[in-house]
């Protein structure tokens, strides 16, 4: 999530109203005010609205929402006459380039911070951590056009931002903090992307770091924007968002000629929307004129074509508008989520519990009746608990996580009993007897199925208790079964039985082996059983 700092003075100046009014209404366009300080507020915006990641963008949206200035913001773009070449060798490295010239910039500390913040937020939300899009802004007056985006030998040296000496690009990846952070994006390429001016001065080593030479300061008046990446659409969105934010401060935007194409254009996209479709989706009857008014509040251009359709101009910075429904959402937001006459639909349907959960509820009833307490252990565990501590063979049917977050959680459980013994261990200081059960999912061979396990610990826990409890549960669940001597090493030989139903082993019960008790640091005998609930008649075949 992007958290944007909004300094009150700057926000008030750009918006034309007091910050209390703005902050009170801000959540209703889709944001969350995280903190309000004496001079600024930190506000979180959603990742689909990168156009709101700057004070300039927020004030543009709020002027509309507060009816101070509605309709499509119009941006004029003059050609700068500046050209930018792109080296064909970049095709397999980082092929896309966007650029613009921004003139008459009047930077103060607040606006510099706002633009830097926007740049970082765009790197995160649109740029996917700079891999998809990276942005550089440069003091235009320190360099000479035309500019060249080239694939450079890695040994090329220049002074990177915040350094006083020259480093080769290879060295930057090791020695510069940004180099270390983003090295993984470029390190495998034989040549590195580089932006230079016509006198071979380095502007930028995208997506890693700018050159110190072109550093932007409060005295910067004219800017070269470079935006490189792997996705042309995303690169253009980033250019549009930065240029329009700068234009909001009074700067003039000029286009650059890249390989014969003038960019950016900052022109809106046009869509014709259906009034019927819009009203049906949001559930409020609105005439075309009202829909157009609401959209103008959201800074769209909108004109009713007839009673059934509205022509909409989508501002170039609204990267989130992919579908007509995205526009309908803005109609709903402008209408006000707090103004809907809410009610449930008359949809008639009969509720039905899933048989798996019906069986699980019956199992809980039976075990509670037998005096057992329910536990809800994690399904994530590890093979030490699942097999080694139980003296059982590690199973090839277990599902392993590719990138576990800790050694405790590396696989999904194939059995529940080991986790119950862990629960007994956790509860060792508590009064005995302790009778615990757990029911829920296990995964074997990728399939999710339901199990029940129960364990009872006290001075006299023994086979007959385990057997009697198992028998009671099987009887209550209408499972016809026979018992065979078990070979399960988690139990004491001669005090363990396999539950056989329908010719298959569906569970095991007995007295836990003392070596297993030692492994779980338990000091009293444990009577236990585990049952595959697929043995219950009526368990659905999934």
């Amino acid at each position: 999530m992007a958290v944007i700092g909004l300094p009150y003075k700057y926000l008030e100046r750009l918006t034309g109203t007091d910050h209390e009014t703005i902050l009170a209404r801000l959540p209703m366009i889709g944001s969350e005010v995280e903190r309000q300080e004496a001079d600024h507020a930190d506000v979180e915006f959603f990742p689909d609205r990168p156009d709101l990641f700057s004070v300039e963008g927020v004030s543009r949206a709020m002027r509309g929402f507060l009816d101070i200035e509605t309709g499509l913001p119009r941006y004029t773009v003059k050609p700068s006459g500046i050209k930018f070449t792109v080296d064909p060798n970049l095709a397999t490295i980082r092929p896309c380039l966007g650029s613009a010239i921004i003139r008459n910039v009047t930077f103060d500390e607040e606006s510099i911070l706002s633009i830097m913040g926007l740049q970082e937020a765009l790197h995160w939300a649109v740029g996917r951590g700079r891999s998809k899009v990276a942005i550089g802004i440069h003091d235009l007056d320190t360099i000479k056009p035309p500019f060249h985006y080239i694939a450079s030998p890695r040994s090329r040296k220049f002074i990177p931002l915040d350094f006083e000496r020259e480093l080769s690009m290879d060295e930057i990846l090791v020695e510069h903090p940004k180099g270390r952070d983003y090295a993984k994006i470029v390190k495998d390429f034989p040549l590195f992307p580089l932006i230079i001016d016509n006198e071979n001065n380095v502007c930028s080593f995208p997506p890693i770091i700018n050159g110190e030479r072109t550093r932007v300061t409060t005295s910067t008046r004219n800017i070269l924007l470079d935006t490189t990446g792997t996705d042309n659409k995303a690169v253009q969105v980033a250019v549009n968002i930065i240029c329009t934010a700068m234009a909001e401060t009074g700067a003039a935007i000029e286009s650059v000629e890249i390989e014969g194409v003038q960019t950016p254009l900052l022109a809106p996209m046009e869509r014709i929307i259906s009034v019927r479709e819009c009203c049906d989706l949001i559930g409020v009857e609105l005439p075309a004129t009202e829909i157009a008014n609401l959209l103008e509040k959201m800074r769209f251009g909108a004109q009713p074509v007839d009673r059934g359709t509205v022509k909409v101009q989508v501002p170039c910075y609204r990267a989130d508008i992919m579908h007509d429904w995205d526009i309908f959402e803005d109609v709903a937001i402008a209408y006000g989520y707090d103004k809907f006459a809410v009610e449930i639909s008359p949809t008639f349907a009969i509720g039905r519990a899933h048989p798996v959960y019906t069986i699980a509820a019956q199992v809980r009833g039976i075990l509670a009746g037998l005096g057992y307490l329910e536990m809800m252990p994690f399904t994530l565990t590890n093979e030490r608990v699942l097999y080694d501590a139980m003296q059982r063979e590690r199973s090839s049917r277990v599902l392993s996580l590719m990138h576990p977050i800790s050694e405790e959680h590396t696989v999904v459980r194939t059995d529940i009993l080991p986790l119950l013994l862990e629960m007994l261990q956790v509860n060792k200081p508590r009064e005995l007897p302790q009778c615990l059960f757990a029911t829920g999912d296990v995964i074997e061979d990728m399939r999710t199925t339901q199990r029940l396990a129960a364990a009872s610990i006290h001075l006299n826990a023994d086979l007959s208790e385990a057997y009697a409890c198992t028998d009671a549960v099987l009887h209550e669940l209408s499972i016809t079964y026979i018992v065979q001597e078990s070979k399960d090493p988690a139990f004491i030989d001669g005090r363990r039985g396999d539950i056989i139903a329908g010719g298959k082993k569906v569970g095991v019960f007995g007295e836990i082996h003392p070596s297993v008790l030692n492994a779980f640091d338990l000091e009293h005998p444990v009577a236990a059983f585990e049952l595959d609930l697929r043995a219950v008649p009526g368990y659905p075949a999934l």
């Binding site: 996917r128 949001i282 429904w325 639909s345 949809t347 599902l399 996580l401 590719m402 990138h403």
Partner: protein
């Protein structure tokens, strides 16, 4: 003077007439056991109202062996009859009484043994021993010897005699409450089966117990407090006509992400947020439509994400990160209206464990698909559901979720906390529903059940749900006092 019990009063009333009597006699008069009478007399004696005399009567009883000897004589007596002078030892050894009798005779010096023959010594006789056997006397050494040999056993019979003291008599005369009125009322503790069926209980008084003293608490077996909360939610949704969904934890990225129009480079799909598995799963029939939707927006007004959609990426399996993967499969299998379905199941996120994060947790999700349903109805369902959960004040804020449009975040008002964000909701994007031939809007909402648990169960640490302290489960009442949470406006 300490208060007299009802039984002491009755004892005194009887004694006032009898003056002095044995406990069994008093017991028969009082319809009690002699032991009970003695117990009451002890209490009255401590108050100086009666005096209690104890008599110990010693008696002897015969063991089985003793009874045998009483009939046939002691073994030494039996053996002695066979001894003449110079009786060969070998002959005696054939006698049944030899083993015990021979030893006794030698011990008593009644015989001598010489060169394999046995002779009597003088006028040997066991008459005194036989006398002791027939008529044992306390203190007699021969009797003691018989006890030692296990032929006799000494028993003590203790009898009590109770007499009323002068104080006791005076008290009875003075008191109105010491009467024979309650002569046949006995105070008892445990009511017995005999007392019930014989109607004897009519003559009984029941001992009064102190109900101010709390019992030792016992705990019934029960379900987990968190499970009970889940059941409450299931109940609400079933009552509202929703069908329950259950499904696999392992899902392909296709169902978990792609079918929900999450672009393949979306941050939520990255390995640091999702548990990926090395396994692959085949894609379902119709997957090409999902590809087309991603690349170009299919046949809808959508532009799609652009770029090239990678089938291999979609085949990679994950532990489901949300139950929406089950909802979309339910819809794909049931594309015709109406559909009302819900699911409360575990989902997995690659998050380190701390008090407010666990790598697995329960998610609730509800969907409604029908002709004519709209965003306004979605807000209605949210209000209804949260209202039934006891959260009366619900408000709505715009939100963003990749697979819904419009999207909304409901907030509920909780006393002491203010407005609390509670899950997310929206209408499934057309890009999500169109590939499966679903032509009507799908309202969907979801929430983290453990968040509700924190509010409802007053938890500060989510880990307690999954690594529970038994004490907490034992102490958590099955029926919670459902406080209805009202907003600050009321």
């Amino acid at each position: 003077m300490a208060e007299l019990t009802q039984n002491e009063k009755r004892l005194l009333a009887i004694l006032e007439k009898e003056h002095k009597a044995d406990a069994p006699h008093l017991a028969s008069l009082l319809d009690a056991t002699p032991e009970a009478v003695v117990q009451w007399a002890h209490l009255a004696e401590e108050k100086g109202l009666v005096s209690l005399e104890r008599f110990v009567d010693k008696a002897f009883i015969y063991t089985d062996e003793g009874k045998e000897y009483l009939k046939h004589g002691l073994p030494e007596t039996q053996l002695l009859k066979f001894i003449r002078n110079d009786t060969p030892l070998a002959d005696l050894q054939k006698h049944a009484a030899f083993r015990i009798g021979f030893g006794q005779l030698r011990k008593k010096g009644l015989i001598s043994v010489k060169n394999g023959t046995v002779s009597k010594v003088g006028e040997s006789s066991t008459a005194d021993d036989e006398t002791a056997l027939k008529n044992p006397q306390a203190g007699d050494p021969r009797t003691k010897e018989l006890i030692k040999r296990g032929i006799l056993q000494e028993t003590e019979t203790v009898t009590y005699r109770v007499s009323i003291t002068l104080e006791g008599t005076a008290l009875v005369k003075k008191s109105h409450t010491i009467t024979l009125e309650s002569e046949h009322k006995i105070v008892i503790g445990t009511l017995s089966r005999d007392q019930i069926i014989s109607r004897e209980w009519k003559n009984l008084n029941f001992r009064r117990y102190d109900v101010a003293k709390l019992p030792k608490r016992v705990y019934p077996g029960k379900t987990h407090p968190y499970q009970r909360l889940i059941e409450e939610m299931r109940q609400i949704l079933l009552e509202m006509g929703f069908t329950e969904i259950y499904g696999d934890i392992v899902q392909s990225s296709f169902w978990n992400f792609d079918a929900l129009f999450q672009p393949q480079d979306h941050p939520a799909r990255e390995m640091q947020d999702t548990f990926y598995l090395k396994e692959q799963a085949p894609l379902p029939a119709g997957w090409e439509k999902v590809r087309d939707m991603h690349e170009r927006g299919g046949e809808t007004s959508s532009t799609g994400w652009g770029g090239t959609w990678n089938k291999k990426k979609a085949e990679q399996c994950v532990l489901r990160t949300h139950t929406t993967s089950l909802s979309i499969q339910h819809l794909a299998a049931n594309p015709n209206p109406p559909v009302k379905a819900f699911c409360i199941s575990r989902v997995y996120r690659r998050e380190a464990i701390d008090p407010t994060h666990t790598p697995e947790f329960e998610q609730l999700e509800g969907i409604v698909m029908d002709k004519g349903v709209s965003f306004r109805h979605l807000l209605g369902y949210l209000k209804e559901f949260y209202g039934r959960m006891g959260f009366e004040d619900v408000r709505f804020r715009p939100a963003y979720f990749p697979y819904t449009e419009p999207s909304v975040e409901p907030e509920i008002y909780v006393d002491g906390l203010g407005w609390v964000e509670m899950g997310g909701a929206g209408i499934f994007r057309e890009e999500v529903t169109a590939p499966w031939g679903i032509t009507y809007p799908v309202l969907a909402w979801g929430l983290g059940v453990s968040r509700v648990a924190m509010l409802k169960l007053g938890l500060k640490d989510l880990r307690l749900l999954y690594r529970s302290d038994i004490e907490w489960i034992r102490e958590s009442p099955v029926h919670r006092d459902q406080k209805v949470t009202k907003g600050g406006r009321k």
